[in-house]
């Protein structure tokens, strides 16, 4: 192992040193680290709100928090987790760090705009936190009018501006990725030699570019209605509250694909690397990312089946929602097929892969229940929906984010983390997660509404189980904080390719130098080109 070479060559972590060099950096790897720190903070904040919710639901009568406090808790849990953790999580950290290296570029197309994206994220976060500290927000993360524009007296306007500003952070990230993938690929890196992670990031960026501006204007209209009396959605002045729902879900459903597509990209990489095998059906997996991104824009109406939407429009939305489930199924089957006849390691990333496969499949399939119009009448706005989207977002996106973080941690920090700690954390998260959210499917079918501060007593047992699961889940998520920081201090130096994986990022030392490559790479073989042992050319 060429450990000596890593030391004398300056890695991006210690090239220029000092706070200013970090806060004014234009290096995509450092910006990824800045994002990593900020979104981990917000993951903790969102997690605390979730803990507040779960503690309240231990007892049927709402005796821990007042109902106003509870409404603020679930609203802020939603806003913080979605806008400040899930949407930026994989694209802004793993995506920012790896995309340029994976396609052989020195940096993203617009490094300064990349830094601006982080500052806009910080600005948006500050404004939203300002809203949290003076009155909080109790409209639900969905801001439904006319409650948000007329009836709520919490600081909806400030939170609306906070979300509006944060939206531009993900627009700029998306813009950067699209231009980089189109214009900055190394010689020889054709579209079909790109890693599937890059395909997923590209598809996610399309959704960021085409969807986020619509929620920006929608949230701005709510702000204008509250602050300037412009009555867009005000029923007393002829406005239509359902129009808000159309505009809001036009972005917010594709937003859930912004959250899951990068996770799928990470999974394609991890499955290939842990089984050291070409991803099964590369082309199908790549195009299913694009299919999900594009079809994702035609299905938002399945959130409006019971909100006086025309039943004929409901038909169109329901049938296309069924179509958008097919690419996800194709991906899942392709990942499973990739592991067939692979050489599957039992190192920690495999635990996250298996966790993802189990939970994401349940999450995806429960989406079919809600896409079926007949069932949605009973299930919408119940805990069934809460369980479904948590299985996708926590079971899918966060499990993949954790897996990706573990898989690329040696590359990003140059340190190895404790394998046993990672395996324990994966198991705890898997068990805690299932104990938290599976009972909610049953609660949902029994009719327990979401966002309820107090509930009829016969549902208490399942809620207690769910809260128990939530505490196990919390421990599972806290563990990495310990062994990752421990690895930074005491971790062994990571070799260039600890997992023996294929990909341009594994050909550069860990942590990589500031400009990624000493010599510009030339690519002349397909991605995941794992050759059987005898042909390995050992220099």
């Amino acid at each position: 192992m060429s450990t000596v070479a890593t030391q004398e060559r300056q890695s991006y972590l210690d090239a220029p040193y000092g706070l200013a060099s970090w806060l004014l950096t234009k290096d995509h790897k450092r910006i990824a680290m800045l994002y990593l720190i900020s979104i981990t903070l917000f993951f903790a904040v969102g997690g605390m709100f979730a803990a507040g919710i779960r503690m309240e639901l231990l007892t049927p009568q709402g005796d821990l928090w007042t109902s106003d406090m509870y409404n603020k808790l679930f609203t802020l849990h939603g806003v913080v987790m979605i806008f400040f953790f899930l949407i930026p999580s994989i694209p802004a950290t793993l995506g920012n760090f790896l995309l340029p290296i994976m396609i052989g570029a020195k940096d993203l197309a617009f490094p300064r705009i990349n830094l601006l994206s982080w500052y806009i994220y910080v600005l948006g976060a500050t404004i939203t936190l300002a809203a949290v500290f003076n009155g909080g927000l109790d409209t639900g993360w969905t801001f439904y009018t006319p409650y948000s524009s007329v009836a709520s007296n919490t600081s909806v306007s400030t939170a609306a501006i906070g979300v509006f500003v944060t939206g531009f952070s993900s627009i700029l990230t998306g813009l950067n990725f699209i231009v980089t993938v189109h214009r900055m690929r190394a010689p020889g890196m054709t579209w079909f030699r790109m890693p599937l992670f890059v395909w997923a990031q590209y598809a996610t960026s399309l959704v960021m570019i085409l969807g986020t501006p619509v929620v920006a204007i929608t949230v701005l209209l709510v702000f204008a209605e509250r602050a300037l009396h412009l009555g867009f959605f005000d029923p007393t002045r002829g406005g239509d509250p359902v129009l808000f729902q159309h505009l809001f879900w036009f972005y917010s459903h594709p937003a859930v694909y912004i959250m899951i597509l990068p996770g799928m990209g990470v999974m394609s990489e991890l499955v290939a690397a842990v089984s050291r095998k070409q991803v099964f059906g590369y082309g199908f997996v790549a195009f299913s990312s694009l299919a999900i991104a594009i079809l994702g824009f035609l299905v938002w109406g399945h959130h409006l089946f019971v909100s006086s939407q025309s039943i004929y429009a409901g038909l169109v939305f329901s049938i296309i929602t069924m179509l958008v489930a097919v690419p996800s199924a194709v991906k899942t089957f392709n990942w499973t097929a990739t592991m067939f006849k692979g050489s599957v390691t039992w190192e920690s990333p495999t635990f996250w892969v298996i966790g993802f496969m189990g939970l994401f499949t349940i999450g995806g399939l429960t989406g079919l229940f809600l896409a079926t119009m007949g069932l949605d009448i009973h299930l919408t706005d119940s805990y069934f929906v809460v369980a479904h989207f948590h299985y996708i977002m926590v079971g899918g996106a966060i499990m993949a984010y954790m897996g990706g973080l573990h898989f690329w941690w040696p590359k990003m920090t140059g340190k190895m983390y404790s394998e046993s700690g990672a395996k324990a954390s994966a198991i705890l998260v898997f068990l805690g997660f299932n104990l938290t959210f599976f009972p909610q499917f049953i609660l949902g079918y029994m009719g327990m509404p979401r966002r309820y501060h107090a509930y009829p007593p016969e549902w208490q047992v399942l809620n207690v189980a769910s809260t128990l699961g939530a505490s196990v889940l919390a421990v599972g998520y806290l563990l990495p904080a310990f062994y990752f920081t421990w690895s930074l201090v005491k971790g062994a130096a990571a070799p260039a390719n600890p997992w023996g994986a294929k990909g341009l990022e594994w050909t550069v030392p860990s942590p990589p130098p500031t400009f990624n490559f000493d010599e510009d790479p030339i690519v002349n073989e397909p991605a995941y080109n794992y050759k059987p042992a005898r042909e390995v050319h050992v220099a």
Partner: protein
């Protein structure tokens, strides 16, 4: 922990296969991806380190601006959606509301913006032909026309305030279908307000480009900032091209045009 050591000579991934053949093959790929021959980058002071050639930098910047303009299209698209629905639900109220708008000022503004597009494009052309004076002249003209647009806008808004046509507590409720007209004016103010904001941002952009042009930074080999801000300016003009007929000319054929 075994790993695939990479031969120091080149970081190519190929297992086996001699170096020379890879280089020639890659070079052919290089030209297709618009990169100059591998390793040899244009030596232009404005070339940023992570680009290979000025062409690649220009293409990336224009593509970047076009993708940004798509986000602006979707941004204004949200407001047009509100416009379309409420015009479908309350057609008469829309015509009544539109009759309150001053069509001549609107038409004047459209003309002003089209002229500013012309001067903008001549400014870009002046940069392409490295004529510093041309750049400065046309940039100042564009900014002047932009300011004229904003001044005319100010007068229009002043008129609306006078006639109590601003939605809110002092909206003139005696108008027929007052609530629905209040909806029309909500959309009118939101769309033209956001458009005016974009004009102001555009003027700020022009100012920075003017300063850079003054310092003679732009020439035939490096005019990306001028072209990119030109794209933005033309987009703002296109938005107004759609706003004018949809807001101002609704009830024109009914002839009842108030001040």
């Amino acid at each position: 922990m075994p790993n695939f050591t990479n031969s120091r000579a080149s970081t190519s991934l190929g297992a086996g296969g001699d170096l020379e053949s890879q280089k020639t093959m890659a070079a052919s790929h290089a030209s297709s991806a618009g990169l100059s021959a591998h390793g040899h980058a244009d030596h232009n002071p404005n070339l940023q380190h992570h680009f290979y050639s000025m062409d690649q930098q220009l293409e990336a910047s224009t593509l970047g601006m076009w993708v940004f303009l798509v986000t602006e299209i979707m941004f204004f698209g949200g407001m047009f959606m509100v416009y379309i629905l409420y015009r479908h639900l309350y057609p008469e109220a829309w015509v009544l509301g539109s009759n309150h708008l001053n069509v001549s000022l609107g038409a004047l503004n459209t003309g002003v913006l089209i002229c500013s597009s012309l001067t903008m494009v001549l400014a870009v052309r002046a940069a392409q032909t490295s004529s510093r004076s041309g750049q400065i002249l046309h940039l100042i003209l564009t900014m002047a026309l932009g300011s004229v647009f904003l001044v005319v806008k100010y007068f229009e808004y002043a008129q609306k305030f006078e006639h109590h046509l601003v939605p809110g507590p002092h909206f003139d409720m005696s108008l027929p279908q007052a609530n629905q007209q209040q909806l029309f004016f909500s959309i009118y103010f939101m769309m033209t307000g956001i458009h005016a904001l974009h004009m102001i941002v555009g003027l700020g952009l022009m100012m920075t480009i003017l300063v850079m042009a003054w310092r003679g930074k732009f020439s035939a080999t490096y005019y990306t900032p001028v072209e990119v801000s030109g794209l933005y300016w033309h987009f703002v003009d296109i938005v107004w091209i759609f706003l004018f007929p949809l807001l101002y000319l609704l009830g024109a054929h009914l002839g009842a045009h108030g001040g």
